[in-house]
Amino acid sequence: MTKAFLPLTILAAAMFGYAPIMIANAPFESTMGLVQKIFYFHAPSWFVMFAGAFICGIASFMFLFRGSRAADQYAVAGAEIATIFGLIGMVTGPLWGRKAWGVWWQWDARLTLAMIVWLTFIAYLLLRRYGGPGSNKLAAGVGLFGAANIPFVYLSVNWWRTIHPKTSVVPTLGPGMRGTFWFCVAAFMVLMTLVLAVRVRLERGKAQLDELYLSLED
């Protein structure tokens, strides 16, 4: 993964450098106007949050049942990605909603789902941070349950309420907008891979350091 650092960084930088130009040039959406352009970073950040949650769930499973240390490192990285990109989505969303809906927050199904999943992975990180020794195994349980919980949260909040623009908005975007949107999604995915690689590298470094200290004491 380390060898991929440089190309990934260059690719991410290039894509994020070009994204604003594409966004600025994309056609204006007819009803929402300028504020709709938040969407190009808002939606991809949620995609990345769910991808991070998914990575954390799978990695937690691998750690619990296969005992793979590397999986544990991917699980932390996944949870941190979910938290950071969830934060971006959580801040950009209300800024859009204030203009489009007239309120900062709505108890809509998708918003609630995103918030609950986000909170789950913040809780995961809190456990790892404050749980003391051995908390990585406990956190793996939380990661697994948190990921397994997503369909239930989705279902329950959907039965509860719905006003967010549907996912079906994406295919109805005008041609200029659709290209920009998918470009931004791709840029965010590249960024996520980079962050994941760096974060796993950090975790591996920490593990290596612990081993070195142990061998120093011997």
């Binding site: 195994k137 349980g141 349950f145 039965w159």
Partner: protein
């Protein structure tokens, strides 16, 4: 299989006997649930009349809060006398230990609900008992779902630092589907003409949640509890 249920029975009986002797957790949890309901009354009663649908929410929040308290206490007791470690060292099925602890917690929460449900019905003029079977179903399925996740988390937090604050922090986001389904299902029962299919749908969701999460918990209890 017989041995599995034997272990479950032994663990449950152990908890039951200890609790019957001191009644510490039962009394404190009951009093906590009652004071919860009381505190909510100040928020959701206007001009002497409760806000519409408030009863369902109050009931489930009281259950969730007192459930968290009971879970914490139940495992704190095990931790203080190192009995959980002893149980884990015994040559028995880990899953059976989990089911035994879960049964104990369920019995305790059942006792709390027997008091709190009529209390909410009386104090908030909520016609909860028009569909007693559906209500009982929602309560049983919801409590099982909440306790299934809670027992696993409380057990694994037994050896973690700051466990008493981490338990609700971890438990509530994951049990939100249970809370939503419980509250909405109960609220349906409180409407003037009850939408029975809707209540059944919420009940079905709770049942599905229970099956998935008990299976997952049985599965993860062993690796999580192995140090």
């Amino acid at each position: 299989m017989v041995r599995f249920f034997e272990t479950v029975w032994l663990v449950t009986r152990k908890d039951f006997v200890i609790e019957v002797r001191s009644r510490e957790i039962l009394y404190t949890t009951l009093f906590f649930a009652v004071s919860c309901v009381l505190v909510f009354a100040f928020g959701f009663v206007r001009d002497g009349r409760p806000v519409e649908d408030a009863a369902a929410g109050i009931l489930w929040i009281a259950i969730a809060f007192s459930g968290t308290l009971a879970l914490g206490r139940a495992f704190e007791r095990e931790r203080q006398s190192e009995t959980l470690r002893a149980l884990l060292m015994a040559p028995v099925d880990r899953a059976a230990l989990y089911v035994g602890k879960l049964t104990g917690v369920l019995l305790l929460l059942g006792a709390v609900e027997v008091l709190v449900v009529p209390m909410v019905a009386l104090m908030f003029q909520a016609p909860l008992f028009r569909h007693p079977l559906l209500l009982a179903g929602l309560l049983v399925a919801g409590t099982i779902g909440f306790a299934a996740v809670g027992t696993l988390f409380a057990a694994m937090l037994g050896r973690a630092r700051s466990r008493d604050v981490l338990l609700p922090v971890l438990l509530y986001p994951i049990t939100i589907p249970v809370i939503i389904a419980g509250v909405r299902g109960t609220a349906v029962l409180l409407q003037t003409d009850v939408d029975v299919p809707m209540a059944r749908a919420w009940l079905a969701m709770l049942g599905f949640f229970d099956v998935v999460f008990i299976t997952l918990a049985l599965w993860t209890f062993e690796p999580v509890m192995t140090e």
